[in-house]
């Protein structure tokens, strides 16, 4: 038996598609695309559930890679958790995200991602393989520039806002000693 979820996105795709779960695995197919993204059952190691911009995200970990699917609804959780348990004996683990609105926290490397944590909850994660350039200024500032995958396309006014650079202030030991008057 196959269960289908509609209006699901594969990663940051702008195209919505259908997401299917069966005992053989999971599959996503875009509305205007013949290509199918497959997640075979024998490769599934873990699954996470977290709030993102487009609803909720299902993150599936496999050996050496992972796939993310956005666009699930809050109410899909129980159904999806039951399916993952039943078909793949995997627990859908909820990951809490920070919505505190703070710009300070900790950075943490998680595989291919740089995570920014606020009060031990994920605020955002950045894909390091998309970093085109990094810069360190004055020992306390680190900047990451992102390559624009859409730069080859004609600019579109309806496109999502594209993040091109982020700068972090990382107080080093030297600044701490200098700034400390305690």
């Amino acid at each position: 038996m196959t269960t289908q979820f509609d209006k699901v996105y594969h990663g940051l795709s702008s195209q919505a598609g259908k997401f299917r779960v069966a005992s053989s695995g999971m599959a996503w197919k875009g509305e205007n695309d013949e290509d199918v993204t497959l997640v075979p059952s024998d490769q599934i190691k873990w699954a996470q559930w977290l709030r993102v911009a487009r609803g909720f995200q299902l993150r599936v970990g496999m050996k050496g890679r992972r796939e993310v699917f956005d666009g699930f609804e809050r109410d899909d959780h129980d159904k999806l958790a039951a399916l993952l348990k039943q078909h793949f004996s995997v627990t859908l683990e909820p990951q809490e995200v920070s919505v505190k609105g703070w710009n300070w926290g900790l950075t943490d490397f998680k595989g291919d991602d740089l995570a920014f944590l606020v009060s031990n909850k994920t605020s955002f994660e950045l894909p390091l393989h998309q970093v085109a350039n990094t810069n360190i200024a004055g020992r306390t500032e680190v900047s990451l520039e992102f390559s624009a995958p859409s730069s080859s396309k004609k600019p579109s006014k309806s496109a999502p806002d594209e993040m091109v650079e982020i700068r972090f202030f990382v107080p080093g030991q030297s600044t701490r000693a200098r700034g400390s008057d305690a």
Binding site: V99, G101, W104, S123, S156, K157, E162, M163
Partner: protein, 136 residues
């Protein structure tokens, strides 16, 4: 973790209590100014990341060819060389997001976003000033 570390005069603020509070508009993967929550929500790699207006210093905008660039600058320690900080910080030793830059082909929208953030900042500053005057 803030015990004993919390900067003098730092007042706690928070955008949302939980993810349920995020507005519907974040789905568009575009910058959204939530005036009610005094918050700017930035799309970052599929996440909707709120930043309270108190964390924002200013915004700058410039046009380059077909694109408009919008840069959001945040309050961080170490920005005023040789001067005692005006803004206290909860944890000055943390890692801070200092700036995030976006680009869009829709310059008019970035004009509007830039204005909304600047106006919200002014509004909040004005209110703070009034509170201070009343306290004096």
């Amino acid at each position: 973790s803030g015990t004993g570390k919390e900067g003098k005069g730092w007042k706690r603020f928070q955008s949302y209590k939980g993810e349920v509070g995020l507005p519907k508009e974040v789905e568009s993967l575009r910058i959204f100014v939530d005036r009610k929550a005094q918050t700017v929500i930035l799309p970052m790699n599929g996440f909707a990341v709120p930043f309270h207006i108190n964390t924002i210093k200013n915004v700058s905008k410039n046009d380059e060819g077909e694109f408009t660039y919008l840069r959001v600058n945040f309050q961080t320690p170490g920005q005023l060389a040789g001067k005692k900080e005006d803004t206290p910080f909860e944890d000055p030793d943390a890692t801070f997001v200092r700036s995030v830059t976006y680009r869009s082909a829709d310059g008019h929208r970035f004009d509007s976003i830039s204005k909304q953030i600047t106006d919200l900042k002014k509004e909040v500053n004005k209110r703070e000033q009034q509170k201070k005057e009343l306290a004096d």
